[in-house]
């Protein structure tokens, strides 16, 4: 029994398990459990937060940038769930949430921005707000389509995660890959149960807020090249490409392929740009 517990602990310390298997299973289980309540989109946040706990770098004091990202991501999940339960989204929902969370991104990066020159504060601050506002607006507007929403979450998480690793931050990378795995859990439920599974605002808002903040964090705290963010911003656009009507399981698979193309572009730029291959 002791040996079993010991090997389980050893397994949970493995970074690959922490940022892939664990959030995938947690995301899938949470989405399945909350499916009857129409809150299955919370699977993305659940998988991500389980990974944060397993990685073990979280505390409220001191509240660093990476910890603020977790806090705002959890806040986005709660906000999204309340929205899914109480409010019927309109076409203004995405831009409104984009503006709110774009402004909140300044709070996340305030401790870094205050150490910059006024010009850097203006350009970096505007960039962080624009990226967050865009990703939230574009991803939340997919909320009615679970295949495209889940695929966008998968692509955003993987693009942010892998490019962060290439940009010299393994912790941010693990967080991003955990988000992708959690969205993967949601997609598995979608393939199993069909289009009745709803991503809602809870998944789209959580995934877009986290991906925007993690990738901006990799630029500001590590060495990710900004051009990678431009490719990542295409994820919620590319998943709008046409999808076949049947068989149903092909929709999330093909949407994920689209998303991974843009995510792959972000990763390629993260690798190539510091070596002089910019466009």
């Amino acid at each position: 029994m002791y040996e079993l517990l010991s090997s389980l602990q050893e397994l949970l310390r493995n970074p690959i398990v922490q940022s892939s298997v664990l959030p995938l299973v947690a995301g899938l289980v949470c989405a399945a459990v909350l499916y009857p309540l129409r809150l299955e989109g919370l699977g993305a946040a659940a998988g991500f937060l389980v990974a944060v706990v397993a990685i073990g770098n979280f505390a409220f004091e001191p509240l660093t940038v990476t910890r603020k990202i977790v806090v705002l991501g959890a806040g986005a999940a709660i906000f999204g769930a309340l929205f899914d339960l109480a409010v019927k989204p309109t076409r203004f929902t995405g831009p409104a949430l984009g503006a709110i969370f774009g402004a909140a991104a300044l709070w996340v990066f305030a401790s870094v921005l205050v150490q910059k020159t006024p010009l850097e504060v203006a350009t970096l601050g505007a960039g962080v707000v624009a990226l967050t506002a865009w990703l939230v607006t574009a991803t939340v507007s997919l909320h009615y389509n679970s295949a495209r929403s889940g695929a966008a979450g998968l692509g955003l998480g993987l693009g942010a995660g892998v490019s962060a690793v290439l940009g010299a931050s393994a912790l941010i990378g693990q967080y991003g890959m955990a988000l992708a795995a959690a969205c993967g859990g949601f997609l598995i439920l979608l393939m199993a149960l069909g289009p009745r599974v709803s991503a809602g605002i809870s998944l789209t808002l959580t995934a877009s807020v986290l991906a925007a903040l993690l990738s901006a964090g990799a630029v500001l705290l590590a060495q990710l090249h900004w051009s990678s963010l431009a490719a990542l911003a295409l994820v919620p656009v590319i998943v709008r490409l046409p999808l076949p009507e049947t068989p149903l399981w092909t929709r999330p698979v093909l949407a994920s392929v689209y998303a991974l193309l843009a995510a792959g572009g972000a990763c390629a730029l993260a690798w190539l740009a510091p070596r002089g291959w910019t466009f």
């Binding site: 770098n57 660093t64 940038v65 401790s111 150490q115 010299a168 941010i172 500001l220």
Partner: protein
């Protein structure tokens, strides 16, 4: 009577002057902080912070002292600066959010006002180290202490070597545990000129 008092005062003046607190400014070109950390349980890896500043005060008569040293974490080097075909060099990784997070916390500082003496020599200085926004106690043992005049400029100077230990996880630097060790040995070489 007045003449005797003035005479006694004149005799006492040099003694009072030598007993007064002495302030020293650290010489950034001869003050460096080094660290050593276990890697994979195999070797002890070393790193150094190239830029630091600070000052210290000594009151040998009262057996008191104070030290303040600020270390620029972005000046960290372990000798691995070229990423080559890897995603990142070790120095880039150490400066990032996983370890020293220099963009958010460009400085770490050690402030101490509890100095233990052995005769006229300070042998230990205890205070607080602030790293990554967390402040924890740290005691530095002064292993070597010399005061003399600089051989060329003739300026009075004091300096030596000190060492201590911290657990990086207590400061929130948990990435890579336990493969990259938790126990960090700190070594400081310092020289200061009397103001």
């Amino acid at each position: 009577m007045l003449r005797v008092t003035l005479g006694a005062l004149a005799l006492a003046l040099p003694l009072a002057a030598s007993a007064a607190p002495e302030n020293y400014t650290l010489d950034p070109y001869h003050t460096y902080a080094h660290f050593a950390v276990d890697h994979l349980g195999v070797s002890l890896m070393w790193g150094r912070f190239d830029k630091s500043s600070g000052k210290f005060m000594l009151d040998r008569a009262a057996k008191k002292g104070a030290l303040e040293i600020n270390i620029e974490t972005a000046s960290l080097t372990t000798g691995d600066i070229d990423k080559g075909s890897r995603p990142r060099s070790r120095d880039e990784h150490l400066k990032g959010a996983d370890f020293f997070n220099v963009a958010e916390f460009p400085r770490m500082s050690f402030k101490a006002s509890d100095v233990r003496f052995d005769g006229e020599k300070p042998i230990e200085v205890a205070g607080e180290l602030t790293l990554l926004g967390a402040t924890k106690p740290l005691a530095l043992k002064i292993e070597r202490w010399v005061c003399k005049d600089h051989p060329f400029s003739k300026k009075p100077m004091c300096g030596g070597n000190a060492s201590g230990a911290i657990k990086r996880s207590e400061f929130g630097m948990k990435y890579g545990l336990p493969a990259v060790g938790d126990d960090i040995r700190l070594y400081v070489e310092f020289e200061g000129y009397k103001e």
